[in-house]
């Protein structure tokens, strides 16, 4: 029983680490641009397909595959943002954030169907070497899971460095913490928006590729996990980058441990309940910025 629990917690941490990447992307975009970009689900699938193409056609190994996933998802993310969402954001309206969110749902649908048009809706898989599970004590970890965990950690460390060392990264954090104060200090959030979208959607692309390596590549690879990713972001407070990572780990563990009590098909429902529970206790998320001024 205890062993089973530990195994589930380990699985949850691995799952959480992978979810953390798109959740970070979503949080970054929400922090800097002020709206929820639902097209993150399609961008995950785009990353998965981009990686799958270079993997199966050109036989590239894991790391360059993920780099391709990052760049392609990032570029398409920025391009579609410029075309579909950016002009909407300029409109003076009290419902702006919401209208943009709805347009991003439509954008998600458009991108997903563009993929379906091009690749069909069948399931594809990566060509990755099959290796045996690593057994520590009696806890099993698949090599793919180890890779996922390692890569997610690596990306998180790179991001942390970017946000603490570089000027642009610091500016982004300033906007996330307090957009008004950042503007007073001369940081223009609009100027950061392209970069934030690129990094955010790129992270979604890596996350999508990692998830697809574990499961399958198809146009709804990202959509299947949308609720869990939102849950991670919301639990983390939607504006806290560190919170998004912690939220992802928490939601990942909660979803896996819940398997002890409920059927696997209801894992997304656990994420939904986690959203509700957290929002009822702390309406702004568990790890929202301490300043508490963001409205």
């Amino acid at each position: 029983m205890l062993l089973e629990l530990i195994q589930l917690i380990v699985n949850g941490l691995v799952m959480g680490a992978v979810i953390a990447l798109p959740a970070l992307g979503l949080t970054l975009i929400f922090s800097v641009l002020g709206f929820i970009n639902f097209s993150i689900a399609a961008q995950m699938s785009i990353g998965a397909f981009a990686g799958w193409l270079v993997n199966t056609q050109l036989h590239w190994p894991l790391l360059p595959v993920l780099l391709v996933a990052f760049v392609v998802a990032g570029l398409i993310g920025v391009a579609s943002d410029r075309v579909a969402l950016a002009p909407m954001r300029k409109r003076p309206s009290s419902h702006m954030a919401l209208m943009v969110a709805i347009v991003s749902i439509a954008l998600n649908l458009a991108l997903e169907n563009a993929l379906r048009f091009g690749f069909g809706s069948g399931l594809n898989s990566f060509e990755m070497p099959i290796a045996r599970d690593v057994v520590i004590g009696e806890i099993r970890i698949g090599p793919q899971q180890m890779h996922n965990l390692g890569i997610a950690l690596l990306v998180a460390v790179l991001l942390a460095a970017f946000f603490t060392v570089t000027r642009v990264g610091k500016a982004m954090r300033a906007v996330a913490d307090n957009p008004d104060l950042a503007r007073l200090k001369g940081i223009d959030p609009a100027k950061l928006s392209n970069l934030a979208t690129f990094i955010g959607m790129g992270l979604a692309g890596i996350g999508g590729a990692l998830l697809a390596i574990d499961t399958s590549v198809d146009p709804s690879t990202g959509a299947r996990l949308l609720l869990i990713i939102f849950s991670a972001s919301v639990v983390g407070g939607l504006t806290s980058l560190g919170g998004a990572v912690l939220g992802a780990l928490l939601v990942g563990v909660a979803a896996e441990v819940s398997l002890l009590a409920i059927a696997p098909v209801y894992q997304s429902a656990v994420a939904f309940v986690a959203i509700l529970a957290v929002l009822l206790i702390r309406p702004s998320g568990l790890f929202a910025g301490t300043a508490g001024v963001r409205k």
Partner: protein, 319 residues
């Protein structure tokens, strides 16, 4: 061809009822509901299951609407402290959970096989005339709902509701029962959506989780936005327009050679999505513009668009 046309017009009536629900909750109440399809499914399953256990259909429609409305109240009560963004995620999640339940609780919903052979009112009696009868029935529901809603939104309740939508704090200070207004509105909107679900179930005589995908929510957002999401008349016109667009793309797709079924379906969904994006860009207020918003809330609009009715409505005077 005629029967196809009749079916499509009936479907437009179902969409019109859902759009009316969206206009109530979103356009007039200012609350997001990305979970429309969830309430639609609740109404459809409730009505279908009841009628399969022998309850008369008029009654099952009513119960379906009531159940959907009560679920709406529960959801909006639980989420009452949430801002728009969070509410968007929660309502979207709600619809997904409903679909999960419908897919997995086989004993109740038949799982992914769905429920087949749902009875339709007077079908054996009317025979070939039944589709026409059902068309009239659905549009009668939509028409009555539209009339009642128009009256309701002109009443003190409607004015107070718009006050809450435009500025919750000011409305609260003016003595409006903000939470109560929001709950009532969510009840009304989700009950209309549930009624649409019930009518849909008895129209197609078959429902399954596959029919309750988020895409349907997008259709309704497109319908309501195209028509003008704050207006009752907009919901009606927008729904007909969406069905014409949906079916039109079916015919256009059929003329393009060399496409397989998946490509045709995805091309149509793509067109719908791009259509919604384009409408939001070109005419975010839709065909029928809002007539009762204060001029200050819409700095971009010309002063003439705020009607005399709006300026003659002091917020504090409502009962």
């Amino acid at each position: 061809m005629t029967s196809y046309l009749v079916f499509m017009l009936t479907l437009a009536g179902v969409y019109a009822l859902m759009s009316l629900g969206l206009v109530t909750i979103w356009g007039q109440g200012g609350m997001v509901n990305l979970g429309l399809v969830g309430f639609f499914a609740v109404g459809a399953y409730a009505s279908a299951l009841l009628s399969q256990s022998g309850v008369p259909i008029g009654f099952t429609l009513l119960v379906g609407a009531l159940v959907a409305g009560l679920v709406g109240v529960a959801l909006s009560f639980v989420t009452r402290p949430l801002r728009g963004d969070y509410l968007a995620i929660v309502t979207l999640g709600f619809a997904e959970v409903i679909r999960l339940v419908a897919t997995n609780e086989k004993w109740l919903t038949g799982g992914s096989d769905g429920l087949a052979g749902i009875r339709s009112p007077l079908k054996p009696e009317l025979g070939a005339w039944h589709p026409y009868f059902y068309l009239l029935l659905v549009w009668a529901f939509a028409g009555v709902a539209a009339l009642l809603l128009t009256r309701l939104l002109r009443s003190p309740y409607g004015r107070a509701l718009r006050a809450v939508r435009d500025d919750e704090q000011v409305a609260a200070v003016a003595g409006k029962p903000v939470l109560q207004l929001k709950l009532k509105t969510f009840f009304l909107g989700s009950a209309l959506t549930g009624l649409a679900g019930g009518l849909y179930a008895h129209l197609t005589s078959y429902i399954a989780p596959d029919g309750f995908v988020p895409l349907l929510t997008i259709y309704i957002f497109l319908a309501a936005t195209a028509g003008g999401y704050t207006r009752v008349v907009g919901a009606i016109v927008g729904s007909v327009a969406v069905v014409v667009l949906l079916e039109g793309t079916r015919f256009i797709a059929a003329t393009v050679p060399g496409l397989n079924a998946v490509q045709v379906a995805s091309a149509r969904e793509f067109v719908i999505a791009v259509g919604l994006i384009a409408i939001m860009h070109l005419r975010p207020e839709g065909l029928f513009q809002s007539v009762n918003q204060s001029a200050a809330a819409e700095p971009a609009s010309a002063p003439g668009t705020a009607s005399a009715e709006a300026s003659a409505e002091p917020v504090g005077s409502t009962a």
